[in-house]
C-alpha cells in the first residue's frame, strides 16, 4: 500500500533521513520506533508531503507521491495525526471534526460523526466545547477522531501516547486496535516501544536517520538489542 524507497531528507544541511526504506501492506499495523531525534517524525512528515525528500521515492496505492503537495494527499486516502496533536484549539470539537472531513464535498453525513463518537464517547459529551479547553487525553482523542473523519486508507499516528497517563495510554492503544479490527491500515510512530510492539504486526527501528532493524512485532519485542535499548532490560 505504501512503499518508501531510499529517501534522503534534509533540514537545511542537516541530513535527517539517510536512505530510509520500508513498506506498509494493506490491513497491517506497522510500528516505527526509535530514540529521540532518530527521524521518526521526519519520516511521517515526508510521507504526508509536509516535507519532500532530496532523493528517493514514495509510492502510495501505486501512485508516486514523492513530490505531491501535502493538501492533496488526504483526498488520496492518507491521514496523519501529527506529533503534538495540533488540533485547532480555538475551534469547537465539532468544528475540528468538520475540518477532518474537509475533503468531503457537501454536508458531512451524521454517521461519520457518530462513528467517531462510537470510538470516543467523551468527545460526544464535549462536542460544543472549544478544543483548547479539553484535557490532554481528550485532545489526543480529538486528533485521532479528526483524522478518521476523512475515511483514510492509511492512518499515520505520531506518538499518540505522548504525555498521557498510563491508563490513557492503554485506552489509546486499545482504540488503535479497534481501528485495526475495523480494517484500517496503520503506521504508528512511538517512543513507547513496548506498547507499540505489542499491537504491531511488523516494526522498524530507526536509528540516526536509517533503519537499523526490522521484523514482526513479537520478534523485535524478544530481540536482545531491542530489550536493551528500548524496553529497559
Amino acid at each position: 500500500m505504501l512503499t518508501v524507497n531510499d529517501i534522503h531528507v534534509y533540514y537545511g544541511n542537516i541530513h535527517a533521513l539517510k536512505g530510509v526504506s520500508f513498506q506498509v501492506n494493506e490491513g497491517e499495523i506497522v510500528a516505527l520506533i526509535g530514540a529521540n531525534g532518530a527521524g521518526k517524525s521526519t519520516t511521517l512528515k515526508t510521507i504526508s508531503g509536509m516535507m519532500h525528500p532530496r532523493s528517493g521515492k514514495i509510492t502510495f496505492l501505486d501512485e508516486d507521491i514523492t513530490h505531491t503537495d501535502a493538501y492533496k494527499l488526504p483526498a488520496k486516502g492518507l491521514a496523519q495525526v501529527p506529533e503534538g496533536r495540533r488540533i485547532f484549539l480555538q475551534m469547537t470539537v465539532m468544528e475540528n471534526l468538520e475540518m477532518g472531513a474537509y475533503i468531503h464535498k457537501g454536508k458531512v453525513p451524521a454517521e461519520d460523526f457518530e462513528n467517531v463518537f462510537s470510538h470516543f464517547p467523551r468527545l460526544k459529551e464535549r462536542r460544543s466545547q472549544i478544543a483548547g479547553t479539553l484535557s490532554g487525553g481528550e485532545q489526543q482523542m480529538l486528533a485521532m477522531g479528526r483524522a478518521l473523519m476523512s475515511h483514510p486508507k492509511l492512518l499515520m499516528l505520531d506518538e499518540p501516547s505522548m504525555g498521557l497517563a498510563p491508563i490513557l495510554v492503554e485506552e489509546i492503544f486499545s482504540i488503535i486496535q479497534e481501528f485495526h479490527a475495523a480494517g484500517a491500515t496503520i503506521l504508528l510512530v512511538e517512543q513507547n516501544a513496548e506498547m507499540a510492539l505489542q499491537v504491531a504486526d511488523r516494526a522498524y527501528v530507526l536509528e540516526s536517520g536509517s533503519i537499523a532493524l526490522s521484523g514482526t512485532g513479537t520478534e523485535l519485542a524478544q530481540s536482545d538489542e531491542i530489550k536493551k535499548a528500548y524496553l529497559g532490560g
Binding site: 504526508s48 501535502a70 493538501y71 485547532f88 484549539l89 468544528e95 475540518m99 476523512s150
Partner: protein
C-alpha cells in the same frame, strides 16, 4: 444633542476604521503579516469609484462594485507577486516588502492620476435626516456608513462561523500545517482572505471619500495607520476585536477633537491605545489559549 451628534460621527468614522481594520486583522490572522499596503488599496478603490461615477457617469452602485472588483483583483495580485514568494522569509523582510508595495501603489497613483486632489462625488447624496424635530440632523453618509459596517460585521461573522471556507480560514490562521493535513489548500485560502480584505477596503474607501471628499494618492495612508491601530487595539487577529477597536477609535478621535483639541486628537487616540496595551497587551479582545500537554 451635540453630544449625540459627536457620538454618531464618531461611530461613523469608527465604522470606516473598523471596515479597514478587518482587512488588516484577517490578513494578519492568516498570513501573520502586517500588510501596510492595505491603506493604499483604499485609495485605489476610491479612484476607481471616482472615475466610474465622475468621468463615466455610471450609477454610484456600479462605481462601488467596480471599485470592489478592482481592489479584490489587486489584493490577490499583490499577495501572489509580492508576499507569496516570501512565505518562508523572516517577517522583517515581509514587512519591508509591504512598505514597498505601499509606496509603489502611492507613486503609481501619482503617475496615473496626478497628485492634484480630486473632489469625490458622494455616492450617497448630500441629504441629511432631521430627527427630534430638527434638533439632531444626521447625514445620509453617516447612516449608510454605520449600516454598511453592521451588514459587513454580520456577514463576516456568518461567513467565518458557518461556511466551510470560513472555517478553513480559521483553521489556517491557527495552524497552517495541520490545515494542510486536513486537505485545505492554504495558498488559495490566503488568496481568498486578501480578496475579501481588499474588497472591504474598497467599500471603506468609497465611504471615507463620501464623508471627506478630498481624494489624493496618499488618501489611504492615515486611515490605514489608524485602522491598523484599531486592529491592534481590539486584538490583532480577532474579527470582533477589529470591529470594536475601529468604532472605539473613531469615537475617541471625534470626542478628543470636540472636547480636547483638534490638533491633539491623534495624540489622545494613541495615548489611549498605549494605556490599553499596557493593561491588556493582547488588545481588548485578543486572546491566547495555551496548549495543553
Amino acid at each position: 444633542m451635540t453630544f449625540l451628534n459627536y457620538l454618531l460621527s464618531g461611530i461613523s468614522l469608527g465604522s470606516i476604521y473598523a471596515i479597514i481594520a478587518l482587512g488588516y486583522t484577517m490578513v494578519y490572522g492568516i498570513a501573520k503579516m502586517l500588510n501596510f499596503a492595505h491603506g493604499d488599496v483604499i485609495m485605489v478603490g476610491s479612484y476607481i469609484c471616482f472615475f466610474a461615477v465622475s468621468r463615466f457617469a455610471l450609477p454610484p452602485v456600479v462605481g462601488v462594485l467596480a471599485a470592489m472588483a478592482v481592489c479584490t483583483v489587486l489584493g490577490i495580485l499583490v499577495e501572489r507577486l509580492a508576499y507569496k514568494p516570501l512565505r518562508a522569509a523572516p517577517s522583517l523582510a515581509v514587512l519591508i516588502t509591504a512598505i514597498g508595495v505601499s509606496y509603489f501603489l502611492q507613486n503609481g497613483a501619482q503617475l496615473l492620476w496626478t497628485p492634484n486632489p480630486k473632489v469625490f462625488p458622494s455616492v450617497v447624496g448630500n441629504g441629511r435626516l432631521a430627527l427630534f424635530g430638527g434638533q439632531l440632523t444626521v447625514s445620509y453618509v453617516t447612516l449608510v456608513t454605520i449600516a454598511s459596517c453592521v451588514v459587513i460585521m454580520i456577514a463576516l461573522t456568518l461567513f467565518t462561523g458557518h461556511t466551510k471556507m470560513g472555517k478553513a480560514m480559521r483553521a489556517c490562521s491557527e495552524d497552517k500545517g495541520a490545515a494542510q493535513l486536513m486537505g485545505i489548500n492554504v495558498n488559495s485560502t490566503i488568496s481568498v482572505t486578501f480578496a475579501i480584505g481588499s474588497g472591504l477596503a474598497a467599500v471603506a474607501g468609497v465611504l471615507l471619500c463620501s464623508a471627506y471628499p478630498n481624494l489624493v494618492p496618499t488618501t489611504g495612508s492615515m486611515p490605514g495607520i489608524k485602522a491598523f491601530t484599531a486592529a491592534v487595539f481590539g486584538g490583532i487577529g480577532s474579527i470582533p476585536g477589529a470591529m470594536l477597536g475601529g468604532i472605539l477609535l473613531g469615537v475617541i478621535e471625534i470626542f478628543a477633537k470636540a472636547y480636547i483639541s483638534t490638533q491633539l486628537s491623534d495624540a489622545v487616540v494613541f495615548a489611549v491605545l498605549i494605556i490599553v496595551l499596557l493593561v491588556k497587551p493582547a488588545g481588548l479582545l485578543g486572546k491566547k489559549i495555551s496548549e495543553k500537554v
